[in-house]
């Protein structure tokens, strides 16, 4: 008996995949959106993102050092969080804003719970919620970083004929979503007028511009196209799965179509839900945040419920809530429900017979 070989449990073949490869591929998938952010908002976007990533990685390393656990910054998960925090802020923000967000995201959103795999909330979204609550003016005001194209968007609305003088005031200094929100709530102009303006906002040219990213907003959610390219890559690599994004976006589409119009049920044009889907953080949220592995259900049915829940909450916030945008709070609220969802959506076993 000359040779003794090491033994291990089967299977003895392993797909080439690891925590590292998953996380770094997510980072890669976020790059097109970052490039578009730099393209539309300038070099400052890149700097803010770098500060944010550095803060996230350092925070992770320091806390892991204190906790006397292995330092796992190489796995890329803190990098993902850092990028996502930066993607949620406005390019005009001071440098310390994304830093504060990332420190909070990693420290309170992740390490307090025990690190990767144990966190209840998507850390980046928790970081964003912290920023919105702490510096509301810095985070929600001042979207109007002027780019030549943003100006052309504004003038396309301003150029509407026969508008009362006060309409432009409703829609200045705002993202497309806050324009729509303001139009729903405004009492300054008539309902019909508001509807006309809304139909002009949610029109094909605007949607096209939003799709390319030619619009005001935060760094990472400007270009739906760039985000979709990254999402397609992740789907191709089986890192994200269709159920959450499709059920989330599908729910938003249906609900906005039913309730989104100004003059009662089904009064919206079909373009309005499309406009809602490509505006704000929905694409980023649905493909990159709601699909966060750690904080979404593992069962297939559970993922559908999770997506639908996110969709309902997003629409409720966008239409009747206090904010123009509700993606991040919707996902955070649904994060809480994940253990419950998993518990009640145990899949039917192959060949299952009733006991």
């Amino acid at each position: 008996m000359k040779d003794v070989f090491a033994v291990s449990a089967p299977p003895h073949l392993k797909q080439k995949i690891s925590v590292e490869s998953v996380m770094w591929q997510v980072v890669l998938a976020l790059m097109p959106a970052l490039l578009m952010g730099i393209f539309f908002f300038g070099f400052q976007s890149l700097l803010l993102t770098l500060y944010s990533v550095l803060a996230a990685v350092l925070t992770e390393a320091i806390i892991q050092k204190f906790r006397k656990v292995p330092i796992t910054i190489k796995d890329g998960s803190a990098v993902v969080t850092g990028i996502l925090v930066a993607f949620n802020i406005n390019v005009a923000s001071p440098w310390w804003l994304p830093v504060a967000g990332s420190v909070f995201a990693i420290a309170i959103g992740k390490q307090v719970f025990g690190g990767l795999g144990f966190n209840i909330f998507n850390p980046a979204l928790l970081g964003r919620a912290f920023l919105v609550a702490s510096w509301p003016t810095l985070t929600t005001a001042g979207w109007t970083r002027t780019t030549p194209l943003w100006n052309s968007f504004k003038s396309s609305i301003n150029g509407l004929q026969n508008l009362p003088n006060n309409v432009p005031e409703v829609i200045t200094s705002a993202t497309p979503l806050s324009v729509v929100k303001a139009l729903r709530d405004t009492t300054q102009i008539s309902r019909d007028m508001a509807e006309t303006v809304m139909n002009n906002v949610a029109s094909f040219p605007t949607i096209r511009e939003i799709f390319w990213g030619n619009i005001g907003g935060v760094i990472g959610e400007v270009s739906a196209l760039a985000l979709l390219i990254g999402a397609a890559y992740l789907a191709w690599k089986h890192i994200i799965e269709w159920r959450i994004p499709v059920s989330y976006i599908g729910t938003v589409f249906v609900l906005i179509y039913i309730f989104g119009g100004i003059n009662g049920l089904f009064s919206a044009s079909l373009l309005l839900p499309v406009f809602h889907i490509f505006s704000g953080g929905l694409i980023l949220g649905a493909f990159f945040m709601a699909t966060d592995m750690v904080t979404s259900p593992v069962t297939k049915k559970g993922r559908l419920i999770f997506g639908i829940g996110c969709g309902i909450l997003t629409v409720v916030i966008r239409l009747v809530g206090g904010y123009p945008e509700g993606v991040s709070y919707s996902i955070l609220l649904m994060n809480i429900a994940v253990p419950l969802i998993d518990k009640y959506t145990v899949p039917k076993i192959f060949g299952e017979v009733k006991a």
Binding site: V22, L116, T299, P347, F350, G351, V353
Partner: protein, 438 residues
Amino acid sequence: MGLRTFPGGVHPHDEKHYSKDSAIEELPLPKKVVIPISQHIGAPSQPIVKKGDEVKTGQIISEANGFVSIPMHASITGKVTKIGKFYHPNGSMAQAIEITGNGEDDWIELSEEKEIDSLTADEIKSRIAEAGICGMGGAGFPTHVKLSPPKDKFIDTVILNGVECEPYLTADYRLMLERSKDIIQGLKLLMKTVSAKQGIIGIEANKPDAIEIFEKLLKNENNLKAIPLKLKYPQGAEKQLIYATTKRSVPNKGGLPMDVNVVVQNVGTTIAVLEAVKYRKPLIDRIITVSGRIVKNPKNIKARIGTYFSDLLEFAGGTTEEIGKVISGGPMMGFAISTLETPMAKTSSGLLLFDQKLAQKEAERICLRCGRCVDICPMNLVPSLIAHNVKHEDWEMAEKYGVMDCMKCGSCAYVCPSHIKLIQWIDIGKIKVSAQKK
């Protein structure tokens, strides 16, 4: 696409190119064999020889112990030199009978019967039982038991498993190419035994020549057909094969193929059955694939049961590099064994040699809850949550997420980015949950 298959599953590279073109070669008589008394599911057999006894090839050396059990036979001629604990191809140490050969191959008398058509089903089954045949695909369930459904169950379909979905293995493939007519005759015999109306041979799409052979041979048979199946692991798992070929779902919680009127037999088993019925030849040899990148001449070898793996590897020319891991069976469900001084059993479909790199073990990381295991589980279980609950000793939840219905195909561990040893945890869960029920 359009090929039939089952829901879920994974796509490891099939690695069959190493050995698929090597025709079956017979291993010269080994000097020594070690025959474990338990090579099957059911009660271990009872040795009826003692140390020093002379035995002939094919002579019974260990009797079946009850109905769900099979006898063992001497696979070479010589002397019983030890009865005791030996390495078993499942990685454990188990009771076995060692025979040292005298260089002869002196067989017990076999009866060549030309007229097997006149045999009754009971006669066929008793010949199968006497020959000590169990499922040779890997599980090792006694074949005569599978062919004996209780009175309230009837069988209408016999499915031959020619899928061989485990990577590397090509033993069944070579049998299908080289002994296709015997396989068809064996299928008809099985159908007669259980009075089945139709016979199906399920073959995975990566064996187009085997599919072609059977489609040609079965052209004029209206109740027999070959069904090509999509290349996907574990296409050859019994329940998945039944679903793919007949759309019938075997009930969970211990349901059997006979519950959906089906019997499944591996193609190798089918040939053993034919030989047992025709010649009364006991199961003392089988085809085994010896393969791996580092094997000098990967081969499909016809070898006597009890042959040491070291003899098989020597016949295949040894290895070109240092061995990292030795696997008995396929790479997905087979056992890593600690020594080549381990004998092959009736269920040994492969001997695989992995290099150091393939043998590398990754540390288990925390579950990311990515759900990849849930997406691909062919039994539609929640492997990650089973493992989680086993770790936390919540047996009730482990059972709820399906621990007892797991067939341990290993697909979940294959796709896990955190390298969690899901099959190991599930094994613990199975043991604990069944212990609790007692």
